[in-house]
């Protein structure tokens, strides 16, 4: 494997008195799609928040693109190109679609703002028709497009997508997985957290399965899909 773009070792994180993540090791190679799977509440979002610096790790190291980032504030991590599209979209509801996208390049790639805006509109033509609309009035699917578009505005080197298909119609879920594949074909490394297990394993090069604060399974997507342990881990049996 090439020198990984993301390397996590011994990562411990949590809230208050409890550790949610109890020593995670993982890697993402450049150009890879890596899926993180696990049932509700195991800590997938917690992992993403720790990677993007909004939650401080209690132990362990996070190395991104040759630099240790586990002690850095979120804005420095964004500046380095690790972009996290959060669960629940977290767009700016009373700002226009255009302003939301512009803020995507607040910290990074500001000089390429207009070129990237054009690129995002090519990926999501629906957003182009709605540049002046208040983001809070977009449909759920459009809001998800906006959240991803906002992430792309920063020219990510690694894109973290936390449940991008949540709440989308089956057709749009299909579209979303197609989009992830396209972005990846263009060379983007992606860390994907998803509920659609089989679809994710089909798409991802590799995957990790999180249970009880640790990765209990990992490997090639196709191999994991056939692994009987997967169902066990997933259902918590």
């Amino acid at each position: 494997m090439a020198e990984p773009i993301l390397r996590v070792s011994g990562l411990v994180a949590g809230y208050g008195g409890a550790d949610v993540l109890r020593g995670l090791d993982m890697e993402v190679a450049p150009g890879e799609i890596v899926a993180v799977l696990g049932s509700n509440g195991v800590g997938k979002t917690t992992l993403n928040k720790t990677l993007s610096g909004v939650l401080r790790p209690r132990a362990g190291t996070i190395r991104f693109d040759g630099r240790d980032i586990h002690a850095q504030p979120p804005q420095d991590i964004v500046a380095a190109g690790l972009i996290h599209v959060p669960e629940g979209r977290k767009i700016f509801p009373d700002m226009s679609v255009r302003e939301n996208l512009e803020l995507g390049s607040y910290r990074r790639a500001r000089a390429n703002r207009s070129a990237n805006l054009e690129r995002v509109f090519q990926v999501f033509p629906r957003l182009r028709e709605r540049t002046a609309q208040r983001a809070g009035t977009l449909s759920g699917g459009e809001q998800q497009m906006l959240a991803i578009g906002r992430g792309l505005m920063a020219e990510p080197r690694l894109l973290i997508l936390d449940e991008p298909s949540l709440g989308l119609s089956p057709l749009l879920v299909e579209e979303m997985f197609g989009l992830v594949r396209t972005l990846n074909t263009d060379g983007l490394s992606i860390l994907l957290v998803e509920q659609n297990v089989m679809q994710s394993l089909d798409l991802a090069h590799r995957a990790y399965v999180l249970e009880n604060g640790a990765f209990v399974l990992s490997g090639q997507g196709a191999d994991l899909a056939r692994n009987p342990e997967l169902e066990k881990a997933y259902l918590g049996l």
């Binding site: 979120p74 804005q75 599209v85 700016f92 009373d94």
Partner: protein, 289 residues
């Protein structure tokens, strides 16, 4: 009844007072909208700014000139206080921020009392009693200047909030802190900029008030009560609401002064305040929830 031109004159005077009211309210509402706290030090900062303008005048600098130095100075001081005092000492708890700003107001007020006693001071500028003759009434020049400058300051603030990346970051943090962090906005910095902008508005207001008002270690409190009324009236956190609400309150005060007598002028304000709380608690210009 009063003749129409007397009423018109009262409305004009009310608008002029109201513009300065709006300026004192806009910082309060901005800080509320972004940090989600009531800044209890607001009145004390206004007082401090009036003292600063007073001593600038003593040193030979006219308030209308001093404003160009004091506004940036108070921006910087406000920034530093939020970034290095209020922010770190609150540990992210809104309740603590509230107490810290309350403490700050007590410190400022008592430092001013200790330093300058409770004497009332006024300044004497050549244009202090100049008037413009409109035919049916006279307008005081310093109040016309205050009106124009308040409108200009409000327009500048509006431009910052809607046109610049920093302004957009402020609006982003106000509604979606996590989303803001994840696009690389430094939330602590934005908080401090917001607090600084609020303090700068007060510095401008102080320089505009000084030629026609007095200075006293508690002078800010009179304004803060009105400012708070305006903030509630305009919808907590709404900048346009505070601007329109300020003008509105100025006119209400002036008209109720006319009809009820000068000393009862402020009663109209509080009647409206209570009515709004009863009928439309989200404010006349209803900030969205």
């Amino acid at each position: 009844m009063f003749a129409p031109d007397i009423i018109l004159a009262a409305v004009l005077n009310g608008l002029m007072t109201g513009a300065v009211y709006a300026l004192t309210a806009v910082g309060l509402t901005l800080v509320y909208g972004v940090l989600h706290i009531i800044n209890f030090a607001h009145g004390a900062i206004l007082t401090a700014a009036m003292f600063a303008a007073y001593f600038a005048w003593k040193a030979g600098i006219d308030p209308y000139i001093a404003v160009f130095g004091l506004a940036p100075l108070f921006f910087g001081a406000g920034y530093a206080v939020q970034r290095y005092v209020i922010g770190p000492s609150s540990h992210g708890e809104d309740r603590n921020i509230l107490l810290v700003t309350l403490g700050l107001s007590i410190v400022i007020e008592n430092a001013l009392l200790a330093g300058f006693r409770s004497d009332t001071r006024t300044i004497d500028v050549p244009y202090g009693f100049s008037v413009i003759d409109l035919g049916f009434t006279f307008l005081s020049v310093p109040r016309v200047v205050a009106f124009g400058a308040s409108c200009a300051a409000a327009a500048l603030l509006w431009g910052i909030l809607t046109r610049t990346d920093t302004g957009k970051a402020i609006r982003a943090v106000a509604k979606e802190k996590l989303g803001a962090s994840l696009v690389g906005i430094d939330v602590a910095h934005v908080y401090a900029v917001t607090f600084g902008l609020g303090a700068a508005c007060l510095a401008v207001a102080a320089c505009l008030l000084l030629p026609t008002f007095y200075v006293h270690p508690r002078v800010g409190n009179a304004y803060v009560l009105v400012a708070f009324t305006i903030v509630v009236l305009g919808g907590m956190g709404s900048v346009p609401g505070a601007l329109i609400g300020g003008l509105f309150i100025g006119v209400v005060e002036s008209l109720s002064g006319l009809f009820l007598g000068e000393s009862l002028g402020q009663i109209g304000i509080f009647l409206i305040f209570i009515l709004v709380l009863l009928v439309r608690p989200t404010g006349l210009f209803g900030a969205r929830a």
